[in-house]
Every structure is written in C-alpha cells, then in structure tokens.
Symmetry: C2
Subunit: 346 residues, 2 copies
DNA sequence: TTGTACGCGTTATCAT
DNA sequence: ATGATAACGCGTACAA
C-alpha cells in the first residue's frame, strides 16, 4: 500500500520480490546468481515472482559490490566510417553474447584524445576499454583508468616477442600487416606495375604509418624502389582531390596502394570520372580493410583483408582472459592479413 | 598506510579526497555538484586534491541515489549500415556534450526484438531509450522499462495532432516524409518519367511502408497511376538482384524510387554494370536518406534528405525535456524531408 | 541451505 | 556554508 505509492515508479526491488515470494531478500539475490547454492524449487518460485513483478537486478547497485560493471568502453574517432562501424557492430554482438554492454565514446574530430573524455569515462568504471584512436598512448589510458586494463590495437613491423615493458600494463592486439601487403605488391608487379604510390591515411595514425613502413620494406625486397607518398587522411574527399593533384603533376604512376578502402574509392572515382583513366588497364588500385562496400560493382576493389570476425574474437578473448585474471602480465593476441583479389588489378 | 594497501587498486574514493583535503566527505560531493552551495576556495582546493589523487565520482554509486544513470540506451538492428552508423555517430556526439553516455545494443539480424535484450538493458537503468528498430511497439518497450520513457521514431502519413492515447507513455519523433517524396516525383515527372517502380525496404519496417504509402498518394495526385512495387530489404545485394530481375521481366520502367540510399546504389550498379542501361538517360533513380556516400562520384545520387543534425537535435531535446519533467504527457518533435538534386535524374 | 549484518561510494535530508 | 546520518539496491562473510 504505502510502499507502493511512495515509490516513484513501479520499479520493483529485491525486497519487493522477497516479500511477495515470502523468502528473505538474500534468497532473491541467490536466485539470480547461478553459482549460489539455493534449492532449485525455491529459485524457480523466486524467478517466477520476479517476472510477474517485472523485476531485474540493478546493475549499478550490483557493480558497486562486485566491482564488475559489465561495461566495455569503446573509444572511436568516428562511428560513421565504414570500417569502424562494422567493427563496432561485430564487437557489440560478441560482447552482448558474453553479458557485456558497449559504452560508446567519441573523440573529437581532430583525433586528439581528450583527457576530459577519459575522466568522464572513468566514472562509469568499465571492465575493459578498447581504444581505436591512434594518438593516445596506453600509458595515459592506463594512468587515468584504474580498474580496467586497456586494450590497444597495434601494428608491429614484425612478429616479435616484445619484452614485457615496465610501466603501466596494457593488453595488445597485434595486427601483422606484411602478408597481405606483400601479396598485393606481388600481384600488381606481376601485372606490370612499376611506379607505385602510397595514398596515406591520417598522418597521426600508426596503422597508416606502419602500412607505409611495411610497404617500403616489401618493395625494396622486390627491387621496386621507393613508393611515392601521397598525403591523405582516410576520407573519400581528400583521397579524391589528392589523386587529381597527383596526376595533374603528371608523375606516370601506374599503381596506387591506399591505406584504407574508403580512400581507394576516392582514388577510383577520381581516376575514372575526373581523369578519364581506366582501372586496371591504366592504373592498378589496391585498398586496405575489405569493408562491405568493397565488393560493390562500382568499385569491385582488390584489397588487403583484416578478418573482422577473427579480430573481434581476439578482442573478446583478451577481455575475458584479463577479467579472469586481473593481475596477469600483459596479454596479447595476433592476427594477420591476406589479399582479396577483385577487379582493380589485372 | 593500511588503508592504501588494503585497497585492490589505486582507486581513490571521496573519503580519500576528504581526508587529504581535510574536509568532510559531503564537501567533496558538493565540490563536484555545480548546484551545491560551497565556498569557492574550498571547492577549488578539493578539486585540486581530487585531481592529484586521480579521483572521479563513481557514476554507479551516484545513480543509485540520484536515480539518474546518465546512460542513454540505443537499440539498432545494424550498427554497420551507413545511415544508422551516421546517426549513432551524431547522436553520441550530442549526448556526450550533454553529459550522457551511449549504451549500445544490437537486436538480432531478423529484427525481432528480443524481450531478453530489453530485460538485459533494463538492468542498466538508462535515463532514456531510443529505439530505431521497427518492429517493437512502444507498448512493449514502456512495459519492460520502468524509469525511462522510450522515444519512438515514427513516420506518420500526415502532420496531425494525435490524440493523447491511453496506455503506456512514450515520446515521438515524427518524420513527415511527404515534401521530399513529392519533390522527387515531380522532378522525375518533369524529366519525362512515366512508369515508376518503388524498391521497398524491409517489409517489416514502417519507414519503408510509410514511404510506399505516401508515394502512392503523391503519384495519384499527379495522375501517375500505381507504382510497381519491388520487394527488397534495404541492402545493396538484394537491391542489385531485384533490379536485375525487374528488367529481365522487361517491364519498361523508366524511374526507380528506392526506400534508402544503399538500395539505390544497388539499383544503379545493376543498371549500369549488369544491364547496360544509362542513368539518368534510360532510367532515373532517386534514393532516400542522403547518407555521406551519396555524393560519391560513382553514384552522385539524387535523394530525399533527412537532415541528420536536425533529427539528432530533436532527439536530444526530447530526452532533456522528458528528464526535466518526468511526468509530462507524451512529447513529440517533428522534422521534414527535402530533395537533394544530384546526377541520377535529368 | 538459510538468514543476519555489513559494506560498496555516493547524494539527500536535516540539523547547526 | 557546513557536517552527521540515513538511505540507494545489491552481494557476501559469517554464523546458524
């Protein structure tokens, strides 16, 4: 009576369930905890009453005592770029299956990680944090967050066993890019390409810088000399204009390796619709990521693939392993790339 | 000493700050609450100590007593489809600016809203819930969530003042689609199109059904007869195949209105790369949404625009108004559409 | 297996 | 303006 009216809304609490089911409040708690010992029939009765009362345990209250928020913070500069949105999609699905919710944070468009944002996020006590942003060191992340061990996606030159560095702890997903890049260059070389350009991504992004580094290594090993570096920023529009500028100067480039697929689309459209060049006859183009749009007929892009499912599975493994053993030394997972051949080389 | 070692990690609490700053714990709380009355110099000292100790108020603990989680649940079937990812991006940015974090949930791919998912989400006590999914009634949403008043995006035929319906409360964002659709048909008609097809979206999506309804109205008003309905599901691949089937049958369609831009891309690619037809000479094409990809040169799509910023601002307004007055009757905001003319009609 | 008592970190209330 | 105390909803050590 009075208890029902005094409550702001019809939110049921564990006490309400206990009262109706005529058990103690602790029993209700145990009914919702699979590991607790409680007589099965008692649990069933409690769960039934809970459903009738539309009761759900309060995650916030629970996390206060269990020190587990079941929240995973995901930090991205742009949710709307295809690669990132596809990764967030897959990640959210996988996390949901494991009982975690995705807490999404956006950095500013200049990709400078705001320490205010981190402070803000810290208040939510995420169990784990995945940083896609390229320009925040794991040191800073680890310093600001306390409970969570951040996961950092890195693109090492070589597959090496890194020494366990002193300082703040963080887990790593290493993406070895060499395989796919080597296959891409080999394919273009095999079809007669000689003068290569690299359409870069954001100059602050380690993904782009490491791609360039590996590209140089691979080309040198194949006796192909230095690639021409074309600055860009992962976006379609910049790639489009950069390509036009490149050919206005008239450099006789016959192969363009783009740091990402969206950039490659800009290259293709500039070549075909602005410069009147044919792909792959006049210029060969390869992208990076293999986003869903890359198989669209207007592009039909040959590209270096990062397997999204594999990548997400590795991230989830890292999260679960870390939560199971919070004090373990730095963890890491490794994935590789491979070339997907379509119509822009040949 | 003992208090420092006993703590699992270096997580500082309000008590720690209070001790170091030599004030009461309540003062620390007030220092972080802008509305609280506290001597400015005292607040400054507390904030300084807090920063030294790397202290941030715990949102979970706070929400327990304030009944505000500062969480907004966003439910989508696919994060990775361009329109939705762009909306989530803008929404997250806007919410972050208002002090809310985005809690992301994915429904299953068959778009059937899982009641288990809702129960799961309820545990987080979101202050508001935005449902993009088309096949969950606000009744169900409102029944399962208790504290939050859900926001439902609807596509009414006409701009009418709906009577305040009895039953569960929910707020609405009404998207009036007529203007843009009428402009699109007028433009195509003006350029000589006579036989129209509607490439539908997901058959369960009210957005698609309402677009079809308005399209029929508009065409009838213009003496254009019935459109040919082509079933699809918002995706590129289905639109591509559906378009090929449509012309294999040989129906002499000279204008296609697609339920969304991605579908229109599939139409364009099928027409040009598979059927050898020219756009806009042989067939005129109009899309819906005006996603970022629509201005890409390969598509250069004429499309009905839903202004994303305007839409997100309306959503945020709804959230803030509802939180300021939890017991207000159903709120609603209205936005309109307009045609963006590019190269696929003319 | 069951229940009592306590603590998680914070804010609201009510004194002063 | 300030501080003591009582919640908020839940999990768990401990005793029974």
């Amino acid at each position: 009576m009075s208890e029902a009216t005094s409550r702001a809304r019809n939110r049921a609490t564990a006490d309400d369930v206990a009262r109706v089911a005529e058990v103690s409040r602790v029993a209700v708690s145990r009914a919702f905890n699979p590991h607790a010992s409680i007589k099965p029939e008692k649990r069933d009765r409690i769960l039934k009453v809970a459903q009738e009362l539309n009761y759900t345990p309060d995650v916030a209250a629970r996390s206060l005592v269990t020190r587990r928020s079941h929240l995973v913070g995901v930090i991205v500069p742009d949710v709307c770029s295809p690669w990132e949105s596809q990764e967030i999609d897959a990640l959210t699905t996988a996390l949901q299956a494991e009982g975690f919710a995705t807490l999404l944070f956006k950095t500013r468009t200049d990709r400078s990680m705001d320490s205010q944002l981190l402070t803000y996020m810290k208040g939510y006590n995420p169990d784990s944090v995945i940083a896609f942003t390229e320009n925040v060191g794991p040191e800073i992340l680890g310093q600001i967050l306390d409970r969570a061990v951040p996961i950092y996606v890195s693109y090492p030159h070589e597959e090496t066993i890194e020494p366990i560095a002193p300082g703040p702890r963080f887990d790593r997903l290493d993406v070895i890019q060499r395989d796919g890049i080597d296959q891409a260059i080999a394919l273009m070389q095999g079809f007669g390409a000689r003068r290569f350009a690299y359409l870069a991504g954001d100059p602050h992004a380690s993904a782009s810088l490491e791609r360039e580094y590996v590209l140089r290594q691979v080309m040198a090993a194949r006796g192909l000399g230095e690639p021409l570096i074309v600055p860009s920023d992962f976006t379609y529009d910049t790639a489009y204009r950069a390509t036009i500028d490149l050919f206005r100067i008239g450099d006789g480039v016959d192969a363009i390796f783009a740091a990402n697929d969206v950039g490659a689309f800009g290259v293709l459209d500039a070549l075909r619709h602005e410069l009147g060049l044919k792909v792959p006859q006049d210029v060969k183009v390869v992208g990076f990521d293999d986003i869903a749009q890359s198989h669209w007929k207007s592009y039909d892009l040959t590209t270096v693939r990062i397997d999204l499912d594999e990548r997400v599975r590795a991230l989830v493994r890292l999260i679960l392993r870390r939560l199971k053993n919070p004090d373990a030394p730095a963890l890491s997972e490794t994935i590789r790339t491979k070339l997907v051949v379509r119509g822009t080389v040949g």
